[in-house]
Symmetry: C2
Subunit: 308 residues, 2 copies
């Protein structure tokens, strides 16, 4: 099976200007064309936890496996370059495909995303076993001249911003991840950002992480948080509020970032992206996560995030 898949990959993986040796040797070799910094992230997704293979088009599963890793590169404002894919396949396949067919579908889900972001699928490893499907992707990128965008640079007084609208990704967006790579690169190039990350475990939890990494607090103005239509639809079903979903749901894969207030206000005026950029609060000296009401009063906010 692995041999057949290697053949399929050799025929179907596109070439890439930086990929000198791809599938078929003991390792891949990439040209690394300039002194600089290599950004690396690895993220695995697994059946029953991150997707339900029996109910999901495996191409979407493949898309998600690569997408969550590209989102991590976006979180560092790094340009994606390449990825390697490690598949652990159920021996008898799944979603109506045998093991090789399932692997091919997963790759079919990854390839368009890889192409859109100029990512070389540089290699992989394919295993089969009696357990469920697990897909581990490792993605590589380069920092730009601005250097990496870290979680740790926010200062009291900075504005806190997000891209897009939050909550309810379980209705489908958690699979059709749209990694904010171009958005992060553009924002980081055009404006002076102080810190950033992607929202993978819910706004509240991830905002508290950004605050902790930066040694400050984050105060959210709840009424300014952009709530997605998905969050509203989900709220109609389950009786929780749309805002609760926007604060607590995982896998938005939007950008959460900070900048000096005047820079943030300029960004919001200019709206340089195809998705909205919104100021949702500010960094404060007091560590932790806070809500600031319309009278300016701070109260503690629970940092409960995504629970699988």
């Amino acid at each position: 099976m692995e041999l057949e898949l290697v053949r399929w990959l050799s025929d179907n993986l596109p070439s890439h200007p930086l990929l000198r040796i791809g599938i078929g040797d003991d390792a891949a070799v990439l040209r690394w064309p300039r002194d600089g910094e290599l950004v690396v992230t690895t993220d695995a997704i697994t059946d029953q936890v991150d997707f339900l293979l029996a109910e999901t088009d495996p191409r979407l599963v493949g898309h998600k496996a690569l997408g969550v890793n590209l989102s991590d590169l976006a979180a560092m404002a790094a340009e994606p370059v390449a990825a390697v894919v490690s598949l652990v396949l159920p021996r008898n396949g799944g979603a109506g495909f045998d093991a090789k067919g399932l692997a091919v579908e997963l790759y079919h889900g990854m390839l368009p995303l890889a192409e859109r972001f100029g990512v070389a699928i540089a290699g992989g490893d394919t295993n089969s076993w009696d357990g469920p499907l697990a897909i581990s992707v490792t993605a590589f990128g380069r920092t730009t001249e601005r250097g990496p965008l870290r979680r740790s640079g926010a200062k009291a007084g900075d504005a806190v911003l997000v891209t897009g609208a939050l909550g309810g990704s379980i209705l489908g967006r958690h699979l059709s991840v749209e990694p904010r790579v171009r958005e992060a690169l553009l924002l980081n190039e055009r404006y002076q950002l102080s810190a950033g990350m992607d929202i993978s475990d819910g706004l509240a939890l991830d905002a508290s992480r950004l605050a902790a990494a930066s040694g400050c607090g984050v105060a959210l103005r709840l009424e300014t948080i952009p709530v997605s239509d998905d969050a509203r639809r989900l709220a109609e079903r389950d009786g929780r509020s749309p805002l609760e979903h926007a604060l607590g749901d995982g896998e938005d894969f939007e950008l959460l970032f900070t900048a000096a207030l005047d820079v943030a206000e300029q960004m919001v005026r200019e709206q340089p992206l195809d998705v909205p950029v919104t100021i949702i609060g500010e960094c404060v000296a007091e560590p932790g996560l806070w809500r600031r009401d319309t009278n300016g009063v701070l109260t503690s906010l629970e940092a409960s995030g995504f629970r699988h």
Copy 2:
């Protein structure tokens, strides 16, 4: 659990001169100090296939997970630089440990090997689920001035060589992998090698792969193949011959490589490694895998290798 593990890793992963940002942000950042080539390999190992968690010290499992990846870097004659680790843990742990404890044991198995080879553990991802243990490691390294050692450079007339002795790794060596990183770098620096790989699926199968990649054949002189003590012990138990084990058993993780005959003879005279270097045959024009008997006659040899 993941949070506790991240804390443990932050406290226990050593710093590394090239690692600018390690555990704790969205991705790791490494200094890539010179123009050059990035060598990347990914290999997953799974419970019941590559090890039996219930019967194995998890530190050995961790050692193997990193070791097989370093062996792939050795196969390319690349200097290891860093690795990232993706764990998919049984929710209730295993081998007598809870999930976090199991993760810590796996890392305890990797860290000494990482230290010996100067490998930064740059980051990781930790998941838990209802399935068995799977560990995916992605390792990356740099080529030396010689460039990567490929499978595809062998020519008819070249000698075929191996390091060490082969067969019977199932008695323990398949876990206590000793990646031939230093050996590969030394051989590739001091001698002109034409092709190389590591033996992971058995000498016969891997030699036939090297031959296919190089567009030639390989003729083995069976009486010259170095047979390990493990292969002999295993043969006493199962009635197969020690040579069959040396040819067919997987996971030797020795180097299989080729060089012009005079270079190979010099290597064998000089024995520059702590492990033996042995000529076991030569490349021939006729594609495929062959045995050459002591009268020089070629007959076809089955390329059956390791089957899990």
